[in-house]
Symmetry: D2
Subunit: 220 residues, 4 copies
């Protein structure tokens, strides 16, 4: 049987000409692997870096692809690790305008929606599997208050309210590409390693029904 994993990446924003999340997910488009007799197909979709329209495009992709797992991916400039996000919060608070010029401040993403949603991906199993492959990785407990968190919250709200049969959904933040840091002092990760990490995330999310025990918490 064929099963699908939907991977989304963002279009460049804030004046950048590249977004590693779009580059990396595009590399995985159409890639397949076998799992317990099923063929799993990765489907990549580009999402505009815009409040609200990002969620609309995501929902359209869900309708088109009928995925079993949804993993949204975004750039986290300054991070050194692949970081699956644990929690999405019901808050838009934009430091800079999005690609459509909107800059919501202290607004709920979904009026009367829950304050937050947990990721339904096995985030610690994903971290452990990436580490086993030599990829720097850790769990993050904040996806920020911009379009990344917006899309993540929108996804979890869709899964909770309209697509309860979709088995898992969540968000992975990834570092800058080296080409983005050629002249500035920021950490980066190679495209090859990011792509490999995301494929491991997809495989782990398909394979694991529940998360593992792993010490990854933080005092702050």
């Amino acid at each position: 049987m064929r099963k699908f994993v939907l991977l989304t990446g963002f279009e460049p924003f804030a004046g950048d000409i590249v977004n590693p999340s779009m580059e990396a997910t595009r590399c995985l488009q159409g890639k397949t692997f076998e799992l317990n007799g099923d063929e799993v197909v990765l489907q990549a979709v580009a999402i505009p870096t815009e409040f609200h329209r990002s969620i609309e495009i995501l929902q359209q992709a869900i309708e088109d692809i009928h995925p079993e797992i949804v993993i949204c991916v975004g750039q986290a400039g300054g991070r050194m690790h692949m970081t699956p996000e644990k929690i999405a919060i019901n808050l838009d608070d934009a430091r800079i305008p999005d690609n459509a010029g909107q800059q919501p401040i202290d607004r709920p993403i979904v009026e009367n929606g829950p304050t937050a949603y947990w990721s339904s991906l096995p985030v610690k199993a994903m971290v452990q599997a990436m580490r086993d492959a030599g990829i720097p990785s850790s769990v993050s407990y904040s996806a920020g208050t911009y379009v990344c968190n917006h899309l993540f919250y929108g996804l979890m709200h869709l899964l909770a309210t309209q697509y309860p049969h979709i088995r898992g959904g969540g968000f992975v933040h990834i570092p800058f590409l080296p080409e983005q840091t050629v002249q500035r002092s920021e950490p980066s990760m190679s495209l090859e390693m990011i792509v490999q990490g995301l494929e491991i995330c997809a495989r782990t999310a398909m394979a694991e029904k529940k998360d593992i025990f792993l010490v990854t918490g933080t005092e702050q």
Copy 2:
């Protein structure tokens, strides 16, 4: 009329012999100021750095003091700013044991409690007031997964379920003191400035009924 602000600080943990949150709140014990004809009194209470017992001691202090505002304070080693926290999450995930040797992993703080609570303090007004006084300050969107977040969530759950008449509650993370960083390369803030910042937080929380408009969000 007399009104009370309850400030809590933590006992030292993780081998440290000092905790800036206990030092700073202790400096404010008994301090008073006048607001709209009322006398406001600050009451400082020390809280053990222990899961669950921290919340019990906090509740006892609430019962004793009948505060109008509760501000819990904790150390965030490595931060450079005074950081009022925006959100508490229903998750204990300890990287290290607490002072009683407990190390919960991936456990809810309150079974079947909501995923998260917003601070009911005017966090942006507090940040702005501290900045106006020359104190480096910003909003934080993650209080971690250790005893600080635990107490913060416990506070907000108490306010929501047992003390709805208490006007505001929340958490402020503060930097290391200089004496903690004498030989290690970490940022710090003087005790005087931390104390001044916390007093400003208390005054602002008493004075402001609602939060202000301020751009403080973050992309991640």
Copy 3:
């Protein structure tokens, strides 16, 4: 007998309206202490943030004050500690123009001067004395390639070639003031602590004939 310590601070640069080195040294102007029966007087002089003219003004101050010790002080934005500098190098390599619009690239400060000079201050004794007072401090092995290093090298060259009787000279880099980091995520140190640290540096430089044993090196 009266003896003098010359302290220099820089005027603000790069669009800043304050320079902590000028603020802090000004606070010490005229301050005296007693040492082995002598009265030691601190004299503060403001130096323009300009290549070459900074050294001229420094030399004028040396001629006027006849100091026994010279400590030049400059801002090192981003550092967390008080950092006496170990070495000055014969290189101007400006990332940004100075206050007179000059931007020398890869030029020697003194044609045919030695590649570098060691500080003749007891830098480790200064670090230890500041730490004993609870002030975060460490030795730095690079003063950069801008006006700070320029003045430091110029000072050491003057001492080596024209003022061999001056007992010690060197440079101390200091952090941002809190007021400079109110809205940006950078470490800072209170003016009081910087002033106290510089006074300790002056006392230690006057009191110690040779440096102490202390582990402060770095792998890179």
Copy 4:
């Protein structure tokens, strides 16, 4: 005609089981390229992370290989960029013991040697060539006070006093490999990119007789 570039890497130290400088230089062993009709051969040699013996092994390699260019390479844990070093200083000041248990404090590398030597490699041309290839790179103005700086100074002293016919020598610090940062929050760079960067350094050092104009300085 055959010409040789000597590349040296260090053995692991400080409890690490890998050293990216040894891994990366080993990958380039025997690699050749053509330049102006000559065949250039890269020769990699492993150096023990020990004061003094490192310089002896380096000198032996120089005697064996008769290189035209010598590039010593070392790990700079925490850096984000490939960083050619500009200056070597005559100081051993070890924070930790070397692999032979020696921990010199405040000792000259060469008694009565000059305070410092400039690299005789075209460091800015190397940085620019790496950037042109999409590799994060910048000039460093301090190689520390441990075995890396020790070997760098030893090399430059050998070139100045015994091998004046060797055209260029210097040092390049490189980041951690990803496998070293799997569980710790430190920046890293892929082995492929480090190897590519070092090859570019070798080519540039062979091809360029003098350095280029490039703004890379630093205020501190």
